[in-house]
Amino acid sequence: MKDKLDLSALDIGISSTGMAQYREDLRASLLVSTTDKLNEEVENILSVIDSGWQGVSRDRFERQLRNMCELMGEDLRKEYDDLEARLTELESFYYEQDLKLIEE
């Protein structure tokens, strides 16, 4: 790469490395940690339920709760994927802008 400046020297611009890190940071916070937190809280819920309910219906309740959490996790992933697509488009926008600003 021909870089002589980094992003800190600019008021308007983009860093592909910075964008990659930004997308990864958002994935870790929005998607991974939220999904982990969801799974952690489901276990907390079930430990309370286990203290006062037993039987086939209780097992089915657990299955339905876990299925719902799985679906929510998938939906969170889709939401993140959509966000990532928008950020990729943003990155493309900057590079397109730079490419087309002055014609050869």
Partner: protein
């Protein structure tokens, strides 16, 4: 001269009274499936297969006093996850990714909208709190109905068959 000998047999059939009462009671007894019948004719539990092979549990039921705690656990879980999402900063390291105040604001607002969607999605877990209340009410209603329609009915049958013999 022969002694007069006349014997009179007792025509009083004492056994008839008890047998009639027992036969009457037996006629009002019902078997398994229609109430509290003679359970010695069939036992639905098997040590290997559980209840008719449908349940692995020898103990089933719910502690209704703990249902509020269960519901609160779900509410707490939802609040904890939503607070976790709130803690995610919109401008996470964007200064190393892109520069432009307008773009920065727009991206922050977009991430905020995504966070709001995630929080709304998580709130759907509260439906399971309502489901717990529904389970609670279903247990109460079913046991109340069974008590009044089956057990009370059977008790009435027994009570009506309990007639005391009065000496004549």
């Amino acid at each position: 001269m022969a002694w007069a000998s006349t014997t009179v047999a007792s025509g009083f059939d004492a056994e008839q009274y008890a047998q009639t009462a027992m036969d009457s009671r037996q006629a009002s007894r019902s078997g398994i499936g229609s109430g509290m019948g003679n359970s010695n004719t069939w036992w639905p539990f098997d040590k290997v297969d559980g209840y008719q092979g449908l349940s692995e549990y020898s103990v089933v039921g719910i502690n209704v006093s703990k249902v509020p705690d269960m519901r609160e656990a779900i509410r707490s879980a939802v609040a904890n996850i939503q607070n976790h999402i709130d803690g995610i900063e919109e401008e996470t390291n964007s200064s190393n990714a892109f520069r432009s105040e307008e773009i920065k604001t727009a991206v922050e607002q977009y991430v905020l909208a995504v966070k709001d969607y995630c929080k709304a999605l998580i709130s759907d877990l509260l439906a399971f709190s309502d489901k717990l209340e529904s389970v609670h009410q279903a247990w109460l209603q079913s046991t109340q109905s069974y008590a009044s329609e089956s057990i009370d009915s059977s008790k009435s049958n027994v009570s009506s068959s309990a007639t005391y013999y009065t000496e004549q």
